[in-house]
Amino acid sequence: MPLSSRHLLGLETTPKEDIKLILDTATTFKEVLERPIKRVPTLQGKTVVNLFYENSTRTRISFELAEKRLSADSVNFSVSTSSVSKGETFKDTIRNIEAMKIDMVVVRHAAAGTPLYLTQLCDAHIINAGDGIHEHPTQGLLDMYSIREKLGRLEGVKVCIVGDIAHSRVALSNIFGLKTIGAEVSVCGPATMIPRNIKELGVKVFYNIDEAIQENEVLNVLRIQLERKAGGNFPTLREYHTSYGITNERLEKNGKNILILHPGPINRGVEISSEVADGSHQIILQQVTNGVAVRMAVLYLLGTQN
């Protein structure tokens, strides 16, 4: 059964069957990653462009590895090495790249909606690798995959996303994907970091981290973007850590065997303490491994469509 869409733009518009298909396919690819020779010929002859208009290390490397493991030819395009600095518009850049006969584009861009715009400009399959504060669907999928792998299920699982919900594409993709698959989603953070109309997305809101820990099975702890502090959404990093930081003390106090995810990169001592980041609750590095498998699944399912 193929995916219902030619692109992966976001999880808001991805139906349940597609999410399940991607997660199931990822299980197969995860097995490939355990082999001594971690490579399959599935996408041989296909060309993927990694179009990164915004700095990214892990997402870009994860996609690049996924492409190589599927035997696709991949080309990296990043802003610093591009003609963007010469004043070329996004549209012209895309037209030029497309003229070189490519099959798929993985795009990361600071402006929301850019992946959708790309689908209007070229015929390739488009995979959103993060657009502004909109969506980051493969991160959402790999988080879901990791939860399912650990807990054996997603339906009914209580997941709380902690941090700057209002400025996070990871939060939005997690909310959409988890809701679609039937998990119970909540968010936790200071009121300045929760979108005004969050309840219309069907999620519960916690302002108190201890309550959030008590009532959930999974915490997905978002990175506090240090550069955003200037926007004044919270007074100091110390206060954020005191109010929302995930520490062993806090986990013990609430007596919970809770699963902790973090999309990385982590700020030790801010949203998560070092003990927790290296401790037994977290699956941060498994998430990274799973990220490659999930991205292989997405690339495979789209790349083998007609």
Partner: protein, 429 residues
């Protein structure tokens, strides 16, 4: 040169006229109203108006002509052509050009460029030098050069002190301060703050950014006795505050742009940059409040906020695209479709909002159906069904979200300055 307009449905709400009649116009002056004899028609070119409405010339008090500075997007000439084609005989152009309309020389330049056109252009001067909000502009010089109001449009006047000074100083000329109401510290987003902005991941502009400045401006108008005109009103709260202020006798007036009573933030889904404007498209609740405000007179007039942008500027990522859409050539059709045919406004109210009130706000003469009056007229058909086609626009820019939209009602002609544009043909009369 003499022309006869036969079978007109004359409409002039100030004179309580709404009747079938004929007009005889010689050298741009109305010389007879009523039955025309064979003698009257001698040497006259006769036009059958086919029961279309003939009203005082429609006036758009919020147009960006982009000259000087961005002549690639619009010029005085092309903007006037678009206005005439869209059914307007007069426009007020906003001062956010490069350089800003903050000197008598630039005001005079605009007026000179429009001189021989059917459409009259009345510049709005910058309220502060360079629209920077630091020092008030030479308002007396600008007024004497022809400015009909003052504004820092694009932004609100920066702070309360400069606003107070602007209102006090401009009150000597009895002209309004026209305000783009947006609190600077809350500005900078790409769409209305709400569920849709969260879903789309677009940086939001809260409606309270508008409401705060509307409130500030009303209070300052009350305090100084100056005249404030709220440009492109878009929120429910703004409408409520203006309604209450008017009831108290505060000198405040307001306009709305057709997109703010036609579209909601829902249409931003899809990231079409022609749905990006400032103020942004709001919610259904806001649209309903705007319609109510139009109906009860809280909102005095309809103005396009015609904002031309080149294709290359709009063809980009939503967040980076500039704000604004062109509107001169769609707004009469939109108003007739959305307001008249949907029974929000009577035809008299619609003519008031397009022809009477904007000229009142700017102290400009209004054409009456009387012998000896200068013929300054808009002719429109309320029943013509047509489809918007941006390729037919006279405007240099085509950035409209209404392309291919089906409308009922259209301007069919304009007469002014001894010129007539009727059925697509321009002639001297």
């Amino acid at each position: 040169m003499k022309i006869a307009l036969k079978n007109c449905q004359l409409i002039q709400p100030q004179q309580k006229i709404n009747k079938k009649s004929n007009l005889l116009i010689e050298d741009g002056i109305i010389i007879k109203i009523g039955n025309l004899s064979a003698e009257d028609l001698k040497h006259a070119e006769v036009f059958d108006i086919k029961d279309n409405f003939v009203a005082p010339g429609f006036f758009d008090m919020h147009v960006h002509l982009r000259e000087p500075g961005r002549e690639d997007e619009e010029t005085v000439q092309t903007g006037c052509d678009a206005a005439a084609h869209g059914g307007f005989t007069g426009i007020a152009c906003m001062p956010n050009t490069e350089p800003a309309l903050d000197s008598a020389e630039v005001i005079s330049l605009i007026i000179a460029k429009a001189k021989n056109h059917l459409v009259e252009v009345f510049p709005v001067g910058a309220a502060t030098v360079g629209r920077k909000g630091e020092v008030i502009s030479p308002m007396a010089e600008l007024f004497n050069a022809g400015a009909v109001g003052f504004s820092d449009d694009g932004v609100a006047i920066k702070n309360a002190r400069i606003l107070k000074t602007s209102l006090e100083y401009s009150s000597m000329f009895n002209v309004p301060i026209i305000e783009h109401c947006e609190d600077e510290s809350l500005a900078g987003g790409a769409m209305n703050e709400g569920t849709t902005s969260t879903f789309l991941g677009l940086p939001p502009i809260p409606s309270v950014a508008e409401d705060l400045i509307v409130m500030r401006d009303i209070l300052m108008a009350e305090y100084t006795g100056g005249k404030v005109h709220i440009a492109h009103m878009s929120t429910k709260k703004s409408a409520q505050m203006v309604r209450e202020a008017k009831a108290k006798g505060i000198r405040v007036t307001a306009e709305v742009s057709p997109h703010h009573f036609t579209l909601t933030e829902e249409v931003v889904k899809g990231y079409n940059t022609n749905t990006k404007m400032n103020p942004p498209l709001r919610t259904q609740e806001d649209v309903e409040a705007i319609l109510e405000g139009l109906k009860d007179g809280t909102i005095d007039c309809i103005a396009s906020d015609h904002a031309p942008h080149s294709l290359e500027e709009k063809e980009m990522e939503f967040e980076y695209a500039p704000n604004g859409i062109v509107g001169l050539e769609t707004q009469i059709g939109l108003a007739l479709t959305e307001l008249y045919h949907k029974k929000v406004l009577t035809i008299e109210q619609l003519v008031e909002k397009f022809a009477i009130n904007p000229r009142k706000i700017l102290n400009l003469p209004i054409c009456k159906f009387e012998v000896g009056e200068r013929a300054n007229l808009t002719i429109f058909d309320v029943n013509e069904i047509w489809s918007v086609d941006i390729s037919q626009f006279k405007s240099k820019s085509k950035n409209s979200p209404f392309n291919k939209r089906l409308l009922k009602g259209k301007a069919t002609g304009v007469i002014n300055q001894k010129k007539m544009l009727f059925q697509g043909k321009l002639k001297e009369i």
